[in-house]
């Protein structure tokens, strides 16, 4: 089979997926310090320092003001746009004592209860959520 070697064409398709930010090289570069900051929260002493003064801890990292504000607001969709990756951002919501279900539901515009009920009922259907262009 033929391998895909056209990077631009490969990436272009990702923008057609509704409600999804694929963690591309562009996002990985933009979010490098954001994600490395989040990674630092794996250490209990750093979690304590962050909790004691979030702003001061954030100021130790060479992040953009928008990234810092996104973190202070726990605006996870904004953070995805600014290069955050969910496995790294998980260190932030774990520090807040939130589960994946609780944190992930905040990105969907649904309440935790509604989100959980949707999951129990079989999850979000792929129907209509595959492609912006094809509306399928």
């Amino acid at each position: 089979m033929t391998a895909i070697t056209d990077v631009a064409a490969y990436l272009a398709e990702f923008d057609d997926i509704p409600g999804t930010r694929v963690f591309t090289a562009k996002r990985a570069r933009a979010g490098y310090h954001l994600n490395q900051f989040a990674m630092s929260l794996m250490k209990p002493e750093n979690r304590e320092r962050f909790k004691a003064d979030e702003r001061a801890y954030l100021d130790e990292w060479p992040m953009s003001e928008a990234q810092k504000q996104g973190l202070l607001d726990r605006d996870y969709n904004r953070l995805l746009d600014l290069g955050g990756n969910v496995y790294f951002l998980a260190k932030v919501f774990s520090t807040d004592g939130l589960s994946f279900v609780q944190a992930v539901s905040t990105m969907t515009g649904m309440s935790v209860e509604d989100y959980q009920a949707m999951m129990v009922a079989g999850g979000r259907s792929a129907k209509g959520a595959r492609s912006i262009r094809d509306k399928n």
Binding site: R21, V86, Y87, S99, T108, Y115, G122, R124
Partner: protein, 281 residues
């Protein structure tokens, strides 16, 4: 000679590790997920009894961060510690490696033109320990040696499904050329459909997942041609983890037979899939 006797596909959902560690496996929300592993646990203990598992998984920003991103990394160390994923390490035994076989595979793969990253020291996260728990339950010591094979499925592009399948084929050649008589299994972990990010989070596609499970059996190799964008559209952004199952499938050779299969929705945000395959012929 070492031989690959079986392949296992298994989701590695962190909450299952949590449920096990906190003795909640019989609670109504977790029981159906765990019940589907009863068969496998008994089979592992009484029939399969592998000496070594080549355990294909991904790290979730636990040991690897953004500093270094190996596409395929093979653990050649004597042992692997358990990652602290932010709540203290899971209370499970350390993982014992199989350095002689691991180094043999690493050398064979590089000569076979798979340029692996060789890792001597690393801790392993739920991606590796949850499947061990599902297959062995509560133990003081894992009854098997493990060769961790970590795949990047976080930063794009991950390896193609086709490349994963071909890596599995190369692993089979490497194992077959190892002189010691060892019973080896290959596990592919992660998936199935799930999306943990953005407004589309919570996506599950049971129909697609089950077609994927169907495709792992028999002598078809159509799964290797599935493109990343299809995983993303059909199975959610984290469904891409299923490319790791193709390393397992590729290692089993031309044809397979399923001897056990289990599927359950949901486990937290995720569709749980599990299959036990034997090579045929």
């Amino acid at each position: 000679m070492a031989r690959i006797t079986a392949g296992i596909g298994c989701s590695h959902i962190p909450v299952l590790g949590f449920a096990h560690d906190h003795k909640k496996t019989q609670e109504p929300i977790f029981k159906p997920a765990f019940d589907g592993f009863d068969w496998t646990r008994q089979w592992m203990k009484e029939d399969a009894k592998p000496d070594v598992v080549i355990l294909v998984y991904n790290d979730h920003a636990s040991f690897f961060d953004m500093k270094v991103i190996p596409t395929f990394a093979i653990g050649c160390g004597e042992r692997f510690g358990i990652c602290d994923e932010g709540f203290g390490p899971r209370p499970v035994p350390e993982v014992e490696g199989s350095p002689d076989l691991a180094w043999h595979i690493a050398q064979s793969l590089v000569l076979d033109e798979f340029d692996m990253t060789i890792v001597n020291e690393m801790d392993v996260d739920h991606g590796l320990t949850v499947p061990l728990t599902m297959m062995y339950g509560e133990v003081d010591k894992w009854p098997v040696k493990v060769i961790p094979l970590a795949v990047n499925v976080v930063t794009y592009p991950p390896p193609s499904g086709n490349r994963c399948w071909a890596l599995g084929e190369a692993i089979a050649r490497a194992v077959a050329s190892f002189p010691e008589d060892l019973n080896v299994q290959v596990w592919g972990t992660g998936g199935m459909s799930h999306q943990l990010q953005g407004p589309r989070a919570g996506l599950i596609n049971a129909e697609w997942d089950n077609r994927f499970l169907d495709g792992l059996t028999g002598d078809s190799d159509t799964l290797r041609t599935i493109q990343h964008v299809e995983y993303l559209r059909e199975t959610g952004s984290e469904g891409i983890e299923m490319v790791m199952w193709l390393i397992m499938r590729g290692a089993l050779g031309k044809s397979t037979r399923a001897i056990h299969r289990h599927y359950h929705v949901p486990v937290s945000n995720t569709a749980l899939g599990h299959i036990v395959l034997e090579p045929v012929g």
